[in-house]
């Protein structure tokens, strides 16, 4: 028996949702409906999700406004925020569409009405790898006119890099140049983006809301049932783990130090997937904390010491840090750095300690808190598969040590792990999913993995997973480091994998074993015929590791390989590799 539909076709629901609602509401009594109306209104008022201007109940129903949210993400932060915007937008009566830059149809952008852009900046002012193509098209001469498009840009970056939020800034300017209308100012977020991003999102949805109220949209957040092809949401709550293995994988003769860390979860391990990262909450070097306290004249403040150890980023020195320092202390000499435009050059290779030692000033605990930002967790690719290690997660962490301006520097998290963490220690971690670095859905698909140095970590997870699940696809690893004898990370495990077939082949490049440097891209070039044959057979290609040089060189080698093996010209070879990327068969996780 069909009942007459209660909800108009214009209600902001999909057909299936509407049918469900009709089915549920169709048999309600007037009393029940009144109760429900009050309940729903109260629910959203309490959560603050509803704009102050509550929709007038009497207004005629109208269609939800389309809103396109595009994100350029490397580490997944922009992507997560884009998802947040989408959810909130739906609550607010929009019809949101979340699009990865990697999949963005740039010529069609002109047809959008409202555009939210969330863009991360990577390395020295570069777009995330997946966004390179679309970014290039937008910035390029062939970009479409965007007259009539309303937009807002949220930029993500890291103030410890010189070109802070450069991509967000350039996109913001470019969209305006193309005729689009900026409806709210851009906000540039540092690593602690949670609060400023949430505030901007709220403002953005207000600013992008149509002039008239969005009709009598029933403001209910119907949580989407997870569809089958999407990853199960993993808990982002930090949990405590115990270190059950801590070993330097490099030989005692190596000048490198790479820590293999096996972590045991107290409960069941969070449902991480091969390709995901684990964020680790580090502590600062106590010696550095004491140095800073001494320089600031704040020795003996135990509470401050604890805060600096565990909560504040006391190494990063950005132009903003210097500005905040000058504001807090009124230091004249330091101010001149800014006034003379020398601050960019001066902070190069320097840390906070250099600033407060070079420009001594009496500081208060509040000053230090104002000057610094919260200590962010550091993400490391997980080097294990739950299918093989159960309720553990393994990490592969290279200790970062270097000297600049005559001062020995250490990586906050890596050296915390290398020097101050031992077996039995507890650490706080949380899973950071990376949906764009995933094994092929079809276990029969071949996999090519390029992971020099610690870049090999996720591929250890891949190989473990494929072995545990008896995936019939072949696995081919390219590994590289400095010396075969001293730096062959997980050598015995790769030998076993070759024995049991979970690695079909391995090619290695050790740069310092011979007079000329040999890198993974050289091996890729040497093996180009076989490599292209694998790719022609549908293999997926993965790169993990250094973003600055390696990832680019590997990509360039692959383009060259296509050109050579298939007799393509440069443009066609480039298109072949770009095709792999668009088809999500060329995935990278670089840092």
């Amino acid at each position: 028996m069909s009942r007459p539909a209660l909800l108009p076709r214009t209600a902001p629901f999909g057909d299936a949702e509407r049918a469900h609602l009709d089915a549920a509401l169709g048999s309600t009594t007037a009393l029940q409906r009144a109760w429900l109306a009050g309940f729903l209104a109260g629910l959203d008022a309490a959560s603050g999700a509803v704009p102050a201007e509550a929709p007038a109940p009497a207004a005629p129903p109208r269609a939800a406004e389309p809103l396109t949210i595009v994100f350029a993400s490397e580490s997944g932060n922009s992507e997560k925020l884009a998802g947040d915007v989408g959810k909130l937008a739906r609550k607010n009566g929009f019809k949101p569409k979340v699009v990865d830059f990697a999949d963005l149809d740039v010529p069609a952008l002109g047809r959008e009405k409202r555009l939210v852009v969330i863009a991360a900046t990577w390395g020295e002012g570069e777009p995330p790898a997946r966004a390179v193509r679309a970014y290039g098209e937008i910035m390029g001469e062939g970009a479409p006119r965007l007259d009539g498009v309303e937009f807002g840009v949220l930029a993500l970056g890291d103030t410890s890099y010189a070109e802070f939020c450069a991509i967000g800034k350039r996109l913001d300017a470019r969209l305006e140049e193309l005729g689009a209308k900026r409806v709210l100012p851009r906000v540039d977020c540092d690593l602690d983006f949670d609060k400023p991003a949430a505030a901007w999102i709220k403002d953005a949805l207000k600013a992008l809301a149509p002039a008239e109220p969005a009709g009598n949209v029933v403001a209910v957040d119907f949580a989407r049932a997870g569809s089958a092809d999407e990853d199960v949401e993993v808990s982002r709550e930090p949990v405590t783990v115990e270190v059950i293995e801590h070993v330097n994988l490099n030989s005692s003769r190596s000048d490198k130090e790479t820590i293999h860390l096996a972590l045991a979860f107290e409960e069941a391990a969070p449902a991480y997937e091969p390709g995901d990262s684990l964020e680790l909450y580090p502590e600062n070097d106590p010696a550095l904390v004491d140095q800073i306290l001494r320089a600031a004249g704040l020795e003996g403040d135990a509470a401050l010491r604890q805060a600096l150890l565990a909560e504040r980023d006391i190494t990063t020195l950005s132009a903003a840090t210097v500005e905040r320092f000058v504001k807090a202390t009124g230091h004249e000499e330091a101010r001149r750095l800014i006034d003379n435009g020398e601050v960019r050059a001066w902070i190069e290779g320097r840390h906070l300690i250099d600033l407060i030692e070079t420009y001594p000033a009496k500081l208060t605990a509040q000053h230090l808190s104002d000057i610094t930002r919260p200590l962010p967790p550091r993400a490391y690719s997980i080097a294990s598969s739950r299918a093989e290690v159960g309720d553990e997660a393994h990490l592969t962490i290279a200790a970062v040590r270097y000297t600049t301006h005559d001062r020995a520097r250490t990586g906050v998290a890596s050296v915390h792990v290398a020097d101050r963490i031992r077996t039995g220690a507890k650490l706080k971690v949380r899973v950071k999913p990376n949906k764009h670095f995933r094994l092929p859905k079809d276990p029969a698909t071949d996999v090519i993995m390029v992971g020099p140095g610690t870049g090999v970590a996720p591929f250890r997870a891949f190989v473990q997973e494929r072995r545990a699940t008896e995936a019939p696809g072949r696995n081919w690893l390219f590994f590289g480091d400095r010396h075969f004898t001293h730096d062959f990370l997980y050598q015995l495990e790769w030998q076993e994998a070759l024995e049991d077939g979970s690695l079909a082949r391995i090619d290695v490049a050790f740069s310092r074993d011979q007079p000329e440097k040999i890198y993974v891209q050289d091996r890729i070039w040497e093996q180009r015929r076989e490599l292209v044959a694998w790719l022609d057979g549908g293999a997926h290609f993965y790169v993990c590791g250094d973003a600055k040089a390696m990832a680019k060189d590997v990509r360039a080698a692959l383009v060259k390989a296509f050109a050579d093996v298939k007799g393509l010209d440069a443009a066609a070879a480039e298109a072949a590799v770009a095709g792999l990327e668009r088809g999500h068969r060329y995935q990278q996780d670089v840092y």
Binding site: L249, S251, F484, L489, Q491, E493, L498, V508, Q514
Partner: protein
Amino acid sequence: MADHKTADLSTAERVYETPPTERPITEAEAARAAKLSANEHIKIASGYLRGTLAEGLLKNATGAISDDDGQLVKFHGMYLQDDRDLRAERTKKKLDKAYSFMIRLRIAGGVVTPKQWLILDEIARTYANGTLRATTRQTFQYHGVIKSNLKRTMAAIDSALLDTIAACGDVNRNVMAATNPAQKGAHEAAYKLAKDISDSLLPKTNAWREIWLDGERVVGGEDAGEVEPVYGKTYLPRKFKTIVAVPPSNEVDVYAHDLGFIAILDKKGKVTGWNVTVGGGMGMTHGETDTFPRTADVMLFCEPDYALKVAEAVMTVQRDWGNRNVRKNARLKYTIERYGLKAFRAEVEKRVGRAFQDPKPFTFTGNGDRYGWVEGDDGKHHLTLYVASGRIKDIEGGPQILSGLRRIAEVHQGDFRLTGNQNVIIANVPADRKAEIDALVQEYGLTAGAGALRRNSLACVALPTCGLALAESERYLPSLIDELEESLASHGLSEDEITIRMTGCPNGCARPFIAEIGLVGRGPERYNLYLGAAFDGSRLSKLYAEDVTAADIRPKLDPLFAAYAKDRKAGERFGDFVIRAGYVAKTGNGPDFHVQTGAQKAVA
């Protein structure tokens, strides 16, 4: 000076086995049926020393090669080794053993040109562990060359017109020759014979060029007759070492080798012919008395024209008669003990096609080197430098031996000679260039000598690279000599020449059983102490004390030094004294090496 040995007449009284008449088995099935030793099967299956070496080089996740290839690669001059100092940490770090290769060159007579020296130096710095190791057999070896660099290293060696073929393995290995450049004519004859033997007894398989230099595989010639007319498919039963000596110096240790030629000189110093020695060898196994070191027998005299033929005949008789069932008894010394010297000589004469005279008299005065400058018959000058344990390297805060010799090679117009005592001779220097060489010697801290005990010392490589070592040798002997020199000085013996040799295991690379003081590794910091060998290397020593800890070596020797200082006769050598004084029994030859061991009387 000890009596020289001649064919022992008492051998006639012993009953010997009847020698085989067939050539060695080269068929896999027959070899299995005959229960030949494992290495024989590997050789048969190897396709003339190829095995799966080429494939093994491509396995890039491991620095090792297969076990069978590990045996074959010795014929190519290499040993697979691993850094034993690092073993303990490797598994924990998920790393395989720190494998690398020892590469030994074939340098007949130990003569290299300055141009070759510069290339060899470059290889040491680029692919090896930064050192050139002068061996106890007049050649160089490299340590620490990883698998991925083997082919590059071989190509570099080839570019110096040198190779590593047959530097190890069951073949005629590097042929040594007396270095005494002062005896110009005799040395030239010795060197020429060494070179001729080295060339004519070289394996003919193309495997080396094919595998290491990407040479073309020669198709077809799989027929033994064509590929290896002398060796055949299975080469020799065991290693085979040949030397050429020129009295009065026994610097090449003629008694320690399978085959030797002793120059017989006329009054003008011209070579009139050669005494041929057979059946010397050092290696034995701890606790197995059917293995023993043996000094060579002086078998016959041959005229210069027959030397090469005799060499080939000795080698082919050993090829056919040597024990291929029990590898530890496969060397020529055991063949002689098994079938008797008389039968062996008869077979050699039969194969050469004529009978030879009995050996001529000769005299050796010692087996050490002559340090410092000497002038040759032709007015050229020769400088022998002392190199501790043959380790040519730059020592932090010490002598810059590698760099110094490189600088000398850049200006030197003569040649270099390696000695069997691990030292280096800068040879054929015109009188007017001596000062230049001396200045460089000074500048880089090189030395033309050392204390008496030290300059008469030898040590094998042992730890950390040698897989056979049971104890330290090269890394420990220098500090032990410090201690012993103190002890000797306290007895007024600082200037007395006494030979001392140390090895990390009983295989005897540094020929410890013919040193007056022999120390052979038993375990970490434990050594067997052998005494009573002849100063000139003609008589074996005897086990004096077993399992002596490193700390106890000096206390064991000090009272013997005291007695020697007090009771020796004029000119009496330490090795002779300890026997005459009754501290240790005299060894006749190999078979009684293990008899009447231990201290024979308490020392005051």
